[in-house]
Symmetry: D4
Subunit: 208 residues, 8 copies
């Protein structure tokens, strides 16, 4: 009766980045801003690294919610980009759903702002339509811990798998030998402790 | 085997505010008082905004538990108001159940003080009778985190969906275009960060 | 597929206090000592107030684990008291199980030190034998939050209901009118905020 | 060798509100937004209640820092308002210093965003010129606790007195009998627990 | 240039308990209620144990602030009790100052609710008049940590010594041999961990 | 529909220690280093004490991830040791799976660094193959609480039982009488509070 | 008797970066790694932006302490770089002191790893020689909060001013008009909230 | 007017370990037990390593306070050991003061249980007699953070320097070249992160 182990597969996964907008970012207070920005960019970098089809969407970006984080635009210049005219649940927007379907993937990796709305609503809708949903909890932000845990409980009960960007990268990569340098660079760019490990190691190696 | 996605529907939802009384408020220590009051008033405002039928109830209000928060009386002057003579579980009071049934709704949005009693007991009873139950965790308060998490676990295991007032408002509204100004005002009145976003945006707009 | 609402019934419930010993108490670091002692004594007082059959047990009380908290001995002078010679899981002790069965109750309210062992093991064993199990989380203590949450997850997944002493008292009492003074005294003795409410209320009442 | 007790005197005190702007508010993460906004408005209300001369100032308000909180403009329509063209330390702005001097007061009550800059710099400058400086710590906000404590240490070491808005109000008022209702209203409007006390008290009184 | 070591002397010390009232207690949120009540009662018990002259005072006790904690009245039935008609700083009340002077002591041990007002104001006033002031930080309560630390900084800078009830008891007692049983009982009654140590020790001793 | 109580059985359990490497240890920030090291060594000691077959594995140990903790090598000189050439999920390595199968056990006790990858991936794989999986949460470490809780949720939902090393030891031992001294030594070596209990007890015993 | 206000002056200040090494970074646990790295790089960037003479030093960089963070080497290719052969206090190294003296500045801005040693020792030594010392608390890291606060107390008591990088930048810059874009870029690169403010502002401006 | 920099000198320093007893350890709740034990043993090891004269003392060790930690007895078999018959302040015991004086040192490094009594009292007494006092904050423990900070404030105000064991070791050692291996071993034995650095470094070195 337990959830089965659905393993992320880089040939069958797409990434949905929902409402990572400059204005909405000021609402995120369950993760520190330095760390949150780093997590979002790490997820973007891994999406690009694994060449996962990625869909961008925003809510009311010409109003107070503000523009999409500029780094995301830069990372995905050719990705489908749906500026929703009003739908709060991205899944209520036909263009968004069409873009998701156009990827041809059954595994959806979702992150956004704020967790209990912009992430949870499309996650629940996608689950209801039979997709396998992986929520990237640390690239999603919200008001506080009460809000976060309520959202996690609702999504997990509905069948979503809660993951973080590092676990997503590792499960997609499977084996370091597929590309040691590539994965190492991804980690070094987003995990200071890992960067330090590599630097210390390399320094001693080189001093031989 | 997961919980299905039951979406809040403003035509099918009622709000139950249970024992938000002046005396009992002093027991609430898992949320800071400024924030808790704001969350309760936000839930009340959204109930009114979406014209959801709302039922008020109190426990022993002429004793130490104290009177209902006066703002709630003011917001809902015509709502059914059941001052229970002794029943701890509001669902054990016939008038309360009658008032709930009179709303004709199947979705119940519940909040109150304290979470593990005044919220959990009627939530569990309503679930047992087939209602769809949505607990507003951040408009419900209790003694501490141990108490809160025990209550959440019991309610979630029994089938309740844990939400917060912001998620409830968003899921009921569905689309900003239904009324941009109305929803924006609700958020500005209860989310200082959102108020700031709107003020900054408007100021620049107006200075054009 | 959710857990059904099993309501505590004072005619069908027994209390099991497992290993609340002076030495073991020094291991409890997930709750502050003042609060933990208060919670344990509140549970004992409510057991007595509702005349619930109560079973006491200790582990190795003549060694470093130390004697049972003396207040518990004083509160329950005639309760079955099983000083286990070695079994870690109280349910592995025949006398203990016999004492539980002798109560003739199907609902077991369990607390103890430490949560993941002295509480979780008999709770899981009792569930496996078809009892309805209610864990009193705030009258149970352990090393830290990692330990606590692991134990809660294991017990909840196995079907236990997580409650706290205040919720237990309220669910057993059902209606204040059954005895206003008795329940009020129980609360005043163990909840300083409630005591303050009563004192303030009574003072103004008397000054009329 | 200790700091002497310099008591706030409502006839000798002015209030300086420095850079409480909509944009800068998003930087404040050492106090929750609901509480921070409440503290700032409480300070504004007490300044008005005690008729303390109040000086408003902003930094670069036509840029990203954003406009002054609109509630402050509304509370002090006639207060000196210095929109600084660039000086980071308000004390480096001649108009601001002139406005402070024009109040004729020697006691300066200062709050602002962010604590270690917009508050600390003018506080240190004013101390250096012989003013008695009272920092309202809970109406001042900054990035995090490291930043806050560094700022407090620097200001306290330089002779500033660290206070909070409630203490400021009490020290200015001296005696409830000067105006029970006025002070009670101020507290009820900004301290939910106090509002509850008053409501409970009044209800019992009225029911006599 | 450091503060000299002023040692508490039981022949030269008095205790001032300021505004430990039922209503005001609901404002205390920097210490958990169980622990706070225990600390206040421990301070009261030690005052009685060491026969220190003790002065009680309340602020507006017939209004929302509520009556003095009843346990304090019971512990000190004959102590001077000044129900202040309005002065916020107890030191502004002539009867209170007279009562303090009547003790003939130069060392004042002060605690109360709330720390930055009811404790800090008389502490600062007493320091200004040459008293040696010892603030019992853990028997004093206030709104939150920002408020607390601001109050501590102000009092410490003015020359007050920050202590806790356990340190006060130990410094007054000087030598266990003055009365082992008396001090042990005081500790056992207010420190569960100490009670456990004594129980475990005694049990093994007795089992010889 | 609940998870049944699967009890650890020392005749049917094996221990898998995954990637407890010197470099990776610097990534662990959800548990303090002193405590984490102690928990890992406690798990190792109990594996040895109960003579559980133990499998060691590392990831890329000649690179930045660093060598296996030297204490683990010393404790298990003869254990199967699989230095994986690249597979991130140890279960993807045939030698590792062969070593697990060679133990002939159906219960797998797993811990490692980091929780959401090196622990979760083989745990989920083993569950999928019908093993009973017990995750030792406090001997597993990761980046932060968000990462940890996401991993716990995923593993628990898939059927893993979350435990801690103390619970594992107790459930394996069953009865103190099986070897009082052995278990006592294990606890004294890894739980300072328990060591203190034993020392105090022994001292009084010996002084009889 | 208070510390006077010593204002940072960009013409009279030098920056000392002490032991920001890859290995030592793994000891820093009082600040999260993402944030700590950001703070260190922000300090480096401001040193460069204000053209402050900067001195780099390392301890035992060919051993386990590891190489200097590579970003620091890149930012300051021509700065004096003293790889100390063994002195723990950088001030005990003649070359380091000579490099400091060669800057000709009297104000020293110091940060490093770990706070209580690599920062505190040279800070205390420099104060003893008459320098004005400004510790950048958030670009300095150590084991935990106990260690940090002990170090802060020692340095502050000895006359050091505790600041954070943002305050340092603001006090050096004095007036936005000296270079709006330069300072804005510095902030945008290291404060995600500030970047968002700028992006939102610019977007609305451009859409006019 | 600041405290001058008094540098620890291994030829002029003694260590006082006050009341690190098995029973009293159960009162320590401001530091986790694993970490606290490690800190105390680290201080003991450094005292031995630097051959500092060390004085041991206990309070009532034949009663509930329990025996001295056995590791301390083992580390210092020949140190003066004063089992005080009743004096709470060790400095009130003539033998203890005589033992301190017999060391002939002017710098006293003090740690103990509990901080505000067993550490603070002798620290304040020694300061009053002209000693230079260094409190090892992380090898001293007490009830909670309120107690700790009150004690730190009192000791620091009286002239004590707050340090931690790592800083003490570093300030005594001065230069790694005095004994690289000795200091490295001390750190590896008590700082898991440092042990990992050394292991990783050595492994790569050896693999050359």
């Amino acid at each position: 009766m337990s959830k089965p182990y659905v393993k992320l597969d880089k040939n069958n996964a797409a990434v949905l980045l929902v409402d990572h907008q400059a204005g909405l970012s000021s609402l995120v207070r369950d993760i520190e801003p330095d760390k949150f920005r780093n997590n979002v960019l790490a997820l973007a970098d891994l999406a690009k690294y694994f060449k996962l089809p990625t869909v961008l969407t925003t809510s009311f970006e010409n109003g107070p919610n503000g523009p999409l984080m500029s780094e995301l635009k830069d990372t995905f210049p050719d990705a489908p980009y749906i500026a929703r005219p009003g739908q709060i649940n991205a899944w209520d927007n036909e263009d968004f759903v069409a873009a998701v379907k156009a990827t041809g993937k059954k595994q959806l990796i979702i992150a956004g702002i704020v967790t209990e709305v912009c992430v949870a609503f499309p996650a629940l809708s996608a689950l209801a339509e039979g997709y396998e949903v992986f929520v990237v909890t640390d690239a999603s932000g919200t008001f506080n811990e009460v809000t976060r845990h309520s959202a996690w409980d609702r999504m997990s009960s509905a069948g979503a798998q809660l993951m973080t960007w590092f676990g997503v990268a590792c499960e997609l990569h499977r084996d370091w030998r597929n590309d040691v340098e590539g994965l190492g660079t991804l980690f070094a760019n987003h995990i200071p402790d890992y960067r330090n490990l590599i630097n210390s190691y390399t320094t001693v190696q080189n001093s031989k």
